[in-house]
């Protein structure tokens, strides 16, 4: 093994190290977010998103059709504005589709469920979902039960 080959292989080794660190920094931990989803974006306003996170799944009828790409607080409407990226192949959602935040299992993560309406027009890039149902916040539920007694 001559020294040139050795140097090249060591260089490759260091490159692999950098690659591994990049994966650990960007993909495994939350230094920045990478989103490689292609599809169209629609937005929905919720009173309360609970524990919803970016990249949480968006499903319709239990089947994943997209993911949450952004969650911001809209200071004009005092609501949370959630941007959903829906895969290109599911472009037949009526405009009166409703979006609700559900929890997968008892301890699972939160996701958005879409229930299609009956309108003839379909959701497109940058359209807005008007019918939304916020996340269930456990404390609020308990409070309601206590007050109704």
């Amino acid at each position: 093994m001559n020294s040139r080959t050795t140097e090249i292989l060591v260089g490759l080794f260091m490159l692999l190290f950098l690659g591994a660190m990049t994966i650990l920094a960007l993909k495994v931990s939350n230094l920045t977010s990478l989103s490689g989803a292609n599809g169209y974006q629609v937005s929905a306003n919720f009173d309360n998103v609970g524990g919803l996170r970016v990249r949480a799944p968006v499903s319709a009828g239990g089947v994943k059709v997209g993911q949450v790409s952004q969650i911001i607080y809209d200071s004009e409407t005092f609501e949370a504005k959630v941007t959903l990226t829906i895969d290109e192949e599911f472009n037949q959602f009526p405009t009166d589709t409703s979006a609700s935040i559900y929890t997968a299992g008892l301890l699972g993560e939160q996701y958005i469920g879409l229930e299609p309406g009956a309108d003839d027009e379909v959701l497109e890039q940058n359209s807005e979902i008007g019918l939304t149902q916020s996340a269930l916040v456990l404390e609020r539920l308990i409070g309601q039960v206590l007050l109704n007694k």
């Binding site: 093994m1 020294s3 050795t6 140097e7 292989l9 060591v10 490759l12 080794f13 260091m14 692999l16 190290f17 690659g19 591994a20 660190m21 994966i23 650990l24 920094a25 993909k27 495994v28 931990s29 939350n30 230094l31 977010s33 996170r53 970016v54 990249r55 949480a56 799944p57 994943k64 993911q67 997968a104 299992g105 008892l106 301890l107 699972g108 993560e109 996701y111």
Partner: protein
């Protein structure tokens, strides 16, 4: 009876003396490190034999450890309906614990034993005495490059182990068992902190690299210069390194994550 007591006492004194020699050796070794700035090619050569040659075993075991973690974690988590949290489980276990520890153990077995055997054989064939005769300091020429190379290689290998383990977990968890890919990665990213988890794991790997290389090089330099002596020194390297890695891991975990 007296004979027995004397023998066991001598064994402890021998162990103590060897610890003392190891400490003096470390001081000399650290003193020789600055000379490497002018002879970096030696380090590259050692990086090849301790880093690149260990790469294949690290990548293969990392992949399989990640896959096993995903299988085990899935079967446990599904009982709580929390299989979406599989990503957190796989990534945290790999990055915090198994990445540095298993890499340390494999490194001791693959590269540490090779280092001891090589240096021990150099001593047995009187190459080290030859170097000294030519006024070449074996600390600068033989020990220090190996030390620095191993010291760099272990954290690098640990990072690769964790990264490929997470990908292996994805392979089994997402592709085989049907956990949602978005949930796997998003929950992982939400729960794994770069400084808290990734850097702590890397610090562990740095400490393990230091200790494993120290033990390996010292055992080689301190061995009885016969073929039998070299073989028992190689065995000692692997045994001591593994014990030190596991013991230090407990200590470091207690310091880093307990509070």
């Amino acid at each position: 009876m007296i004979d027995f007591l004397a023998r066991s006492g001598r064994r402890y004194l021998d162990a103590l003396a060897s610890l003392g020699r190891a400490s003096a050796f470390l001081v000399q070794l650290l003193g020789a490190l600055p000379s490497l700035f002018t002879r970096f090619s030696l380090v590259i050569k050692q990086l090849f034999s301790s880093g690149v040659m260990t790469l294949s075993i690290i990548l293969v075991s990392g992949l399989f450890v990640g896959m096993v973690l995903a299988l085990q974690g899935y079967n446990t988590l599904i009982g709580f309906g929390a299989e979406e949290s599989l990503g957190i489980f796989v990534a945290k276990v790999l990055v915090r614990e198994l990445g540095p520890v298993v890499t340390g153990l494999l490194f001791a077995g693959r590269a540490g034993s090779a280092m001891t055997a090589e240096i021990g054989l150099m001593k047995a064939t009187e190459q080290l005495s030859g170097l000294e005769m030519m006024a070449v300091d074996p600390f600068k020429r033989v020990y220090a490059p190996r030390f620095i190379a191993g010291f760099f290689a272990l954290p690098a290998l640990a990072a690769m182990f964790s990264a490929i383990g997470v990908l292996g977990g994805h392979l089994v968890g997402v592709e085989l068992l049907g956990v949602d890919a978005g949930a796997y990665w998003s929950q992982m990213q939400a729960a794994v902190e770069f400084r808290e988890d990734v850097l702590s794991g890397l610090i562990k790997a740095v400490v393990f690299g230091f200790v494993v290389c120290w033990i390996a090089i010292f055992q080689g330099a301190d061995c009885v210069p016969t073929s039998e002596g070299v073989s028992s020194a190689t065995t000692r390297t692997v045994v001591y390194s593994c014990l030190m890695v596991l013991g230090l891991d407990f200590l470091l975990t207690a310091i880093m994550f307990s509070v």
